[in-house]
Symmetry: C2
Subunit: 306 residues, 2 copies
């Protein structure tokens, strides 16, 4: 099952011609979860061949323009394409109030429903759940109310060991029962315990998105053992005072969070446009957390079962 | 004096990864007049090295999203860059009402004033005038209230013929007086008429922007002898019924307007994303009006004195 993230934009508030503001898509079995929606997201989605019709959920971290100015254009385009499926937008409650007059004016007669699901950064909350994935908010600390999102694959049913199917000539009914946890009772009365019949399910994969936030050590507790972590790194450590003042993080701080959380891999992004060359970001992070990569536009990060 | 247009985007409502929605800049002596502001305009301005600080006037043709969704992001960026100069936005009155809550929320404490100047498509109106250029609206016919804009260079002072300066040993005061229309009285009482002393000023240059509009023949009267005309051509003539239905024009119709107006040169744009190859647009227009070009992103059209 696919579980991968594509970076559509990773710059901070001031976009450049080559670096778009924040937007990413998480692909879970060819369903696309859009995370933030900076200006130009719809063009980036086209550029990287993400199918518009497979985006049903958009998760907005906070109400700064560089994370959402692309939303109205994307919704408008969905309408022009004749979309029928409801679109779910997860965001701070103010977004609904701000968007409704614009939707009425610029997107009158939309052929689909836009549902606003309100988030809060008071505590961690489940905001979406289906058979395959669960999405929770993570309270972050920024100038305004901000949440990160953690996407966790659901644990599937355990698999029956193939050799057991042959050895005990298992029926479909017996297999279903074993998958649910039953032991196997043979005709001679011998009991084969469930643990000998099954392989445990694969460890669920997870992806956490944390932007924008100042550094706070306890964030790592919310991200325990996450496989792939995106954490903002707006500044370099040499500008850590500026990071503190603007409630952003440095590359070093992002790496510390990844290390403390026991993450397997880190992506850093949301770079300030003051830096032309991003290599210093990667060098700084890797001193603390080796398995770090830059959120370069178009990069795809596959999350494998570990 | 520079008088040129740079195309930033020329697609219709559905942008593609290679074709942005409508935006252009007219450069009049290194002052930049932005015309429409589709999503991604600020990235396109950076890409084509247009200096943000030299944009003080933004002219919006009508309130469809593909002509203005980039406005909030651009204003936000102006604020982050510390702009102090007021920004003048010319648009239908509804835009002010729609934008104010978003400006208050997303661009609080802007260090400059955003002034909304209301346009009307009831009649042709002067909306801006300074020493070098005059900008008038042109009523267009679209589904909603829409105006085009015509930018006309002001006639400068006439130039004194160089040979006269030497021949009559003209003083600075005499030159200034002759430029204002005076004759020259020589010491022996002979009068040299003004017309013998001056070269008439160059013909003023002009640029007209017409998007979006259905075809209506009388539009050509508003564009009489314009040097450079941008006219929308959303569809090919084979889709003229669709053009009529959606109140847009075809490439052929744009060419007819240019021909009837006696324009010198035509640029066509606002192409529907249904067409992958734009060469048919140019072929169709050139059958009627030879001096036609496509509004390709990044193209610069210089308007020379004729």
């Amino acid at each position: 099952m696919t579980f991968s993230v594509t970076i559509l934009g990773s710059n901070s508030a001031l976009p450049t011609s080559e670096r778009h503001p924040t937007a990413q898509v998480l692909n879970v079995s060819e369903r696309f979860f859009l995370i933030d929606c900076g200006e130009g997201t719809q063009m980036q989605l086209r550029k990287y061949h993400i199918k518009f019709a497979k985006i049903n959920h958009i998760f907005i971290s906070h109400l700064h323009g560089d994370h959402l100015f692309g939303l109205i254009g994307l919704i408008s385009t969905f309408g022009l394409l004749g979309r029928k499926t409801p679109l779910n937008v997860y965001a701070h409650p103010d977004l609904e109030n701000l968007m409704l007059p614009h939707l009425s004016y610029f997107c009158a007669d939309l052929p689909f429903e836009v549902r606003f699901i309100h988030t809060s950064n008071k505590e961690r909350q489940i905001v979406f759940e289906d058979q395959k994935v669960i999405v929770e908010t993570i309270p972050l600390k920024h100038r305004i109310s901000t949440v990160g999102y953690i996407f966790t694959e659901k644990t599937g049913m355990p698999n029956i060991r193939k050799e057991c199917i042959l050895k005990y000539n298992l029926s479909i009914a017996e297999i279903a029962s074993i998958k649910k946890g039953s032991d196997l009772k043979l005709s001679d009365g011998i009991i084969i315990p469930n643990s000998e019949l099954i392989k445990p399910p694969k460890r669920p994969r997870s992806y956490a998105f944390c932007s924008d936030t100042k550094y706070f050590k306890s964030l790592a507790n919310e991200l325990k053992d996450v496989q792939l972590l995106y954490h903002e790194s707006t500044f370099l450590d040499s500008d850590k005072e500026l990071a503190k003042k603007t409630t952003h993080s440095t590359s070093k701080q992002a790496a510390l969070i990844a290390k403390d959380a026991g993450a397997q891999r880190l992506i850093i992004g949301h770079f300030s446009s003051r830096y032309n060359n991003l290599s210093a970001f990667i060098d700084e992070a890797r001193e603390i957390f080796e398995n770090t990569d830059l959120a370069i536009e178009g990069a795809v990060f596959n999350i494998d079962h570990s």
